[in-house]
Each structure stands twice: as structure tokens, then as C-alpha cells.
């Protein structure tokens, strides 16, 4: 494409059916302790 470059291969819609295993880290535990963020986590599957 000339006007648009897509920089990722998103999996969010697919994860509506496949997610929920819960093996990922609790987002507040690792570094922040004061601000809740999930967007910067990685799926452990």
C-alpha cells in the first residue's frame, strides 16, 4: 500500500475465542504497583 503501512498482526478478535487461560502475569505485580496497564503485557501462550 502507498498511503498506509500496517505495523502489526493483531490477534485481539481471534482471542475472543481462544483466550482466558490466565497464565499471564498479574499486570500490577511486575513493576508498577500504582498504575494498572494491560496493553504492555505479552500473551504467555
Amino acid at each position: 500500500m502507498k498511503h498506509i503501512i500496517t505495523v502489526n498482526k493483531p490477534t485481539m478478535q481471534k482471542s475472543l475465542k481462544t483466550g482466558g487461560c490466565g497464565e499471564c502475569q498479574a499486570s500490577c505485580q511486575s513493576a508498577c504497583k500504582t498504575s494498572c496497564t494491560v496493553g504492555n503485557q505479552v500473551c504467555e501462550k
Binding site: 493483531p10 482466558g20 502475569q25 513493576a31 498504575s35 494498572c36 496497564t37 504467555e44
Partner: protein, 458 residues
């Protein structure tokens, strides 16, 4: 359709985020303008509105590209409802143990009243700590990975319990097949050689509290006698990080109204030899160190500065991790996780020194949020359900916000602090979060582009 996208410009870069798919597109100025009008089925309206600004041929070409994205499910992806993978009840997977509700520092912004959390200074007994481990195992179901964070106050003031719990955890891992990740958050004052050796041998990840520049740290994090602590703790942290090959740590700081030039603090940490970093805004109500809406323009500008510094250092081969800029745009969390958020109150609990359970470490001491204790479990069944259901799709201010699947609705404790209601997010925190997310998306998009350019064409 506008509520399904978010677009922003930073410097010369234009970004389009498709909210419900998570697709990130770097676009040109023309697409940026078109997205004010384009709805997916109104091409003629778009060309009529922009014909005077752009060539017809270019507009048609761009419309073709937008329709291709729609066909690929990467533009105007359908709205997301609560998926079946989001269980009605959470399984507990993480505990924060307040092993010492006491502290040897007197940080000026402490949310825990110098460790006491509004109560008497006290430390957790090994018995309470072991009961917490048993409680977690009894409530985590089939899940393999569990987490415990040794927190306080200052957890190194109670190594007796830290060691007893760790030994018990390792024993229970063998018996149950579970895998525990242990972390410890410390101010570093008591971090001597034997403690460093023990932490390494027992595979404890650490969060190291430093506020960046020496003068900022010493002003904000004095000891009980009012003396600066930077020189002492940075020496100890240096030893610790060197002894574990620069791995399994985070260096974490807080910025306040007194250091709005916090890019300097992030870079000071890096220049002191640390490169896994997090610096966060203080959250205080009615306090001169805390933030108000009037501070936001200055904070936004500083995140722009930090973004530039982050990218510059990366390109110079002197890069560092910054917690809020880390974002895996392709392999991020599932929707169930994005709804569960931090898990406070349903997947994540804090254990007070006496064994009482609270939704998270910040709620400790807020009596109406006491859920039960490690011996009898959670007695209050309503509150955990309320926390579980207080996700972004159930909060008025979140359900239409573009950032809803990245921020998970903000910190419940902060919402309670400012509004007495965990479903009413702390607005200044939201605005800072959104700015940080834009910076993170931009950083990851630019790095991805640079990586693409470095690859041979196929």
C-alpha cells in the same frame, strides 16, 4: 464508525489505531484527514469534501486501501462484548504479602503511611505467610503459574518471613506441580551481601525503588532521620544487578509535581548503569506533590521528550526498557485479560501483616474493603464479584474510550481514592495513561517500521 478508531499525530508521524482489532497503521496526512469523514460506505462524501485539498486519483487510491483494511478486519472491526472466555468468577493467581507494615524510609509521597497503612507498625509472621501460600494454592484451580510479591513497607525488614515463605513455596511447588514467580519490592537500604546472595540463589525477581537523579531521590526518599539515601541504595542496587547479570529486576521511580522534567530522571537511572526502568506519576489527593488537570500540558510535553530520548538512545545502540513503552502490538493479551485488568479483588489480593485479605496492596487499611483472611478465605462474596464485573465494558466513562483495551479501566484504588467508587476512574490518571499509550504505540510503530526497512525486500 468514528468510535471504532483512534487517530493521532506526533511530530511528523500519523497513526491510526483500530480499537477492536488492535491493528496499528502508520498513515499519511491524506488518510488522516479522510478518517474525519470516512465511514466505510461513503466514498463519494469523502472525495467531495477533500477534492479541493487532494488529487482525485490519490483519494481514490487511498479509499481502495481503506477498503482493503476493512476486508482484512483491520479497520472498523466489530465491537467487542464480554467473551465466553471471561469466566464469571476469577481464579486467584497472585498475592501481595505485606511482610512488613513498617519502613526505614519516610518517602514524602508514600501511600502506605510510611508502611503502617494507617495502623500500628507490625510485621507478618511466618505462619501467616505460609497460610497465604496455602490459600493461594487452594484458590488457583488448574492454573500452573502463581505469583507472590513480597511488599511493604520494606520487606527486607522481615527477612525471617520472606525466607520462611520462600522455603515453603519451593516445597509446595514440588508437591503440587505449580510454578511460583516470586518478586520483592525494596528500597535497598538493607540490601547487604548475604541478602543479595540469598535473593539470587532463590530466584527472586526484584523491583528496586529509585527516583532518578540523586537530588530528586534524596529530597523525596529520606530515611527516618531525614538523611538522603541515594548513595547508599544505588551502591547496593549496583551490586545486586551486577551479581545477576543485569537480569530479573526493574528499577522503579515515582515523579511528582516537583520533577515534571522526569525524562532527566529516567536517563539518570540509565546513566547510573540500569536499563530496565519504570517511572510513574504519583497519585495523591489534595497534596501539593500531586497532579491536577492544570499540570497535564506540561506532563504531555514531557512524555514527548521522553519518547524522543527513548528512540534516540535506542538508535544510538544505548537503548533501555521503559515499562510503559513496552508493548507487543502483535502478541498482546487476550480480550479476557484486557477485561480482567490487574485482577485486584478477584484474581489478585493483598495479604495484610495479620492475614487479612484486601483487593490489592493499595486497599490495605481501607476497612470497608476487607474481604476476609488467609485462614477462612474470602468471606465477602459480593465485593469480588463487583471487582470482577467492574471492567471497561461496564464503566460509563470507559466503554467508549479508545484506550479501553490497553489500560483496563485504570486503577481501582485510585478511583476509590478520588471518587469513593471503583467504577469512576481518576480522570487525571486516565489522561496521563492515554498520552503514555500514544507514545508507546508511536514508539513501537516507528521501531517496527525501522525494522521493516532494514529487511531485504521479498
Amino acid at each position: 464508525m468514528k468510535d471504532r478508531i483512534h487517530k493521532f499525530r506526533q511530530g511528523d508521524t500519523y497513526i491510526l489505531l483500530d480499537i477492536n482489532s488492535g491493528a496499528v497503521h502508520v498513515i499519511d496526512r491524506m488518510i488522516y484527514d479522510m478518517m474525519d469523514i470516512f465511514q466505510g460506505d461513503n466514498d463519494e462524501e469523502v472525495t467531495a469534501a477533500l477534492r479541493s485539498d487532494y488529487r482525485e486519483k490519490d483519494l481514490q487510491e487511498a479509499l481502495g486501501e481503506l477498503h482493503s483494511l476493512m476486508d482484512a478486519g483491520q479497520l472498523f472491526a466489530p465491537d467487542i462484548d464480554v467473551p465466553p472466555t471471561f469466566r464469571q468468577e476469577g481464579l486467584v493467581k497472585s498475592l501481595c504479602l505485606m511482610v512488613a507494615q513498617d519502613c526505614n524510609l519516610r518517602c514524602r509521597y508514600c501511600f502506605g503511611d510510611a508502611g503502617s497503612y494507617g495502623g500500628e507498625r507490625a510485621v507478618m509472621s511466618p505462619e501467616v505467610g505460609r497460610a497465604a501460600v496455602d490459600y493461594l494454592i487452594s484458590r488457583c484451580g488448574q492454573r500452573k503459574h502463581c505469583e507472590i510479591d513480597f511488599f511493604g513497607g520494606e520487606p527486607l525488614m522481615n527477612m525471617r518471613t520472606v525466607k520462611a515463605v520462600t522455603e515453603y513455596v519451593r516445597q509446595k511447588e514440588k508437591e503440587t506441580g505449580k510454578s511460583f514467580k516470586l518478586t520483592l519490592t525494596t528500597n535497598g537500604v538493607l540490601l547487604d551481601d548475604p541478602t543479595i546472595l540469598w535473593l539470587n540463589e532463590n530466584r527472586i525477581s526484584v523491583v528496586l525503588s529509585v527516583d532518578g537523579r540523586k537530588e530528586v531521590h534524596d529530597r523525596m526518599r529520606p530515611d527516618a532521620g531525614g538523611n538522603g539515601t541515594y548513595d547508599r541504595v544505588i551502591r547496593n542496587f549496583r551490586k545486586l544487578v551486577d551479581s545477576r547479570d543485569g537480569k530479573n529486576y526493574y528499577m522503579r521511580g515515582t515523579y511528582t509535581k516537583e520533577n515534571l522534567d522526569f525524562t532527566e530522571d529516567v536517563l539518570a537511572m540509565k546513566d547510573a548503569g540500569f536499563d530496565i526502568l519504570s517511572v510513574e506519576p504519583v497519585v495523591l489527593k489534595d497534596n501539593p506533590l500531586g497532579f491536577t488537570e492544570e499540570d497535564l500540558p506540561r506532563i504531555y510535553a514531557e512524555y514527548d521528550r521522553l519518547t524522543e530520548a527513548y528512540l534516540r538512545r535506542h538508535r544510538e545502540g544505548r537503548g533501555f526498557f521503559f515499562f510503559h513503552f513496552n508493548m507487543d502490538l502483535s502478541n498482546g493479551p487476550c480480550v479476557a485479560k484486557r477485561l480482567a485488568g490487574c485482577g485486584a479483588g478477584h484474581e489478585y489480593y493483598a495479604v495484610a501483616e495479620n492475614g487479612d485479605l484486601y483487593p490489592c496492596h493499595q486497599f490495605v487499611g481501607r476497612k470497608k474493603y476487607k474481604l476476609g483472611n488467609v485462614y477462612d478465605g474470602v468471606q465477602d462474596t459480593e465485593l469480588p464479584r463487583y471487582f470482577r464485573e467492574s471492567h471497561v465494558l461496564n464503566k460509563e466513562t470507559c466503554k467508549d474510550c479508545w484506550a479501553r483495551f490497553f489500560c483496563s479501566g485504570g486503577c481501582h484504588a485510585n478511583a476509590d481514592l478520588f471518587h469513593g467508587d471503583i467504577r469512576k476512574p481518576y480522570e487525571v490518571g486516565c489522561e496521563i495513561q492515554k498520552k503514555r499509550l500514544e507514545c508507546a504505540i508511536l514508539v513501537q510503530a516507528l521501531l517496527a517500521l525501522e525494522s521493516m526497512e532494514g529487511q531485504p525486500e521479498t
